[in-house]
Amino acid sequence: MEPNESSLHPIEILLVEDNPGDSRLAKEALKESKLKNNLYIAEDGVEAMNFLYKTGKYSKMPRPDLVILDLNLPKKDGREVLAEIKNDDNLKRIPVVILTISKAEEDILKTYNLHANCYVTKPLDLDQFMKVVKSIEDFWLTIVKLPNGKNE
């Protein structure tokens, strides 16, 4: 094994989630990751876009390597956030994992058509929720090659 690049460059994850309980659980699940990562939380769609465009108070924020996006968000809806990311030449390569309670076929279809990288439903049970976040972390951080080559 080569020296782990990620110890020098942690993987930056942006979680867009308005429910503080869910963000807290996600944070705990990601803490246990083998790969060093920083989790940033945006609580609504407008904040998420400001973070991604580095506007205002987000000017010093890193470009996320992975976005985990809820669909039902205040101010700007997750579907709009997804469409903006995937229509922006500079942002479109960032993988976006949809994490939502919605099981509606319409939402699943629409988000894949907008080029969501994958769609995962949030279980209501806390342990199951942690498990799902860990599966996302495990797959996207250790199996997948992210666009910037950080998780070598």
Binding site: L109, H115, G149
Partner: protein
């Protein structure tokens, strides 16, 4: 919906891979997981597009639920296949997992640019190869909700 005796839905997985050894190993790896699925295999980019468009000998092929796509392919390369899938209104929703030996950042960036759902490098070691295929299958068929 095609189904097996258990009654649960069987996913259609399309593997686009020109290396017969890798294809065989992939088939075996996918069978080890006990997840109901039908496995389809084509050997080049042209066949892949014919399969997806139900052309020629592929007239009765089902719509895949998941596509595992190699990049270096004869006739039409993987990036071109990906680009066609992701710009086709009726196909773009199908998740495409790029599986390539290439570790080049250019290939990775280009794949995400063309809306690949994810990029995975094929391990050279056989055991790791089987493990990676199993984990791809587990994540995409168990954790993820696929479009119907």
């Amino acid at each position: 919906m095609p189904s097996e005796s258990s009654g649960s839905y069987s996913f259609n997985i399309l593997l686009v891979e020109d290396n017969p050894g890798d294809a065989r190993l992939a088939r075996e790896a996918l069978n080890e997981n006990n997840i109901n699925h039908f496995f389809f295999h084509v050997e080049d980019g042209l066949q892949a597009l014919d399969f997806l468009h139900n052309k020629g000998m592929y007239q009765s092929s089902p719509r895949p639920d998941l596509i595992l796509l190699d990049l270096n392919l004869p006739k039409i390369n993987g990036h071109q296949v990906l680009s066609e899938i992701k710009s086709d209104e009726s196909l773009r929703k199908i998740p495409v997992v790029i599986l390539s030996i290439s570790q080049s950042e250019k290939d990775i960036e280009r794949s995400y640019e063309l809306n690949a759902n994810c990029y995975v490098t094929k391990p050279l070691d056989i055991n790791e190869f089987i493990e990676v295929f199993g984990r791809i299958q587990n994540f995409w068929l168990k954790t993820v909700k696929l479009p119907v």
